[in-house]
Symmetry: C2
Subunit: 151 residues, 2 copies
Amino acid sequence: MIDYSSGVPVTRQVADAIRADINSGRYRPGAWLPSETQLTQIYEVGRDTVRDALALLRAEGRITTVRKRGSRVVDKPSREPYSVPSGARAVTRMPTPEERRDLATPEELREFGGVPEGVPVFEVAPGPRMHRRILRGDRVELIFGDPQDTD
Amino acid sequence: MIDYSSGVPVTRQVADAIRADINSGRYRPGAWLPSETQLTQIYEVGRDTVRDALALLRAEGRITTVRKRGSRVVDKPSREPYSVPSGARAVTRMPTPEERRDLATPEELREFGGVPEGVPVFEVAPGPRMHRRILRGDRVELIFGDPQDTD
DNA sequence: CATCATTTGTCCGTATGTATT
DNA sequence: AAATACATACGGACAAATGAT
């Protein structure tokens, strides 16, 4: 399973394996992953490696981890349209810790201390002199101009 | 420095401290951070904690880590305008491993195996029936409509 | 209410391959 | 060439919180 002579970091190989098992449906959205110690046995690597691999998947937004509970596969997000007018500009980036706190639901704040890892934000300037708005990247879809006829 | 009784994970406290030192200019963009073992002494925590904190900062896109070399502070990206027409739609998310490979420069491919962690992507659909385009979130700024008069 | 097993978080010792000096 | 520094990876251990019994 793991190729130590390939040069590709073991951490990434394990992350790839877990990700493949998520994509294949072996680990389903909303379900808990096997525990870290179980994953060490499944993929036959040390716990450091498993933990680093899980950190990679968290950074990708594929899983979330709750202390003393475990890691679970995140559901595919459903995004709502957000219309922006002509002349608007938008960038995307990872949120600051403050933004992660501000954008989180109470439940997320309790479980993760903020918006989960791996969730980028939109920074939208609707107009040249209008205030920037920070939007959760997993909740909105930007629509430029006329919002109808969107299919 | 570290408050073990606050309930907030030590990992996050260390990440906050390093991030503050980056924001204050103590660690400058492009410069190497102290090594992991040095960081354990500076912030007086174990290696695992330092490594987890660095993983957090990587996920935020604040640092990159090269194997056997160290971690360095990333420069603030300069984004180029990318015009989108009326009716266009855009979402943001973290890239898949394939996208990370495809969007990376040869140098990034060599050093990180792809686009660095913490870089989201735009998924832009210029029109109802037009093919989606994947854009690096750290390189472009979406502009709706006329690209001039952008200040 | 009390107890116990499970889980993640954290610390440590050790070894290794690679890059730099 | 040799030595040093570094991140990566393995293993063991303990603590604190959670959930089930």
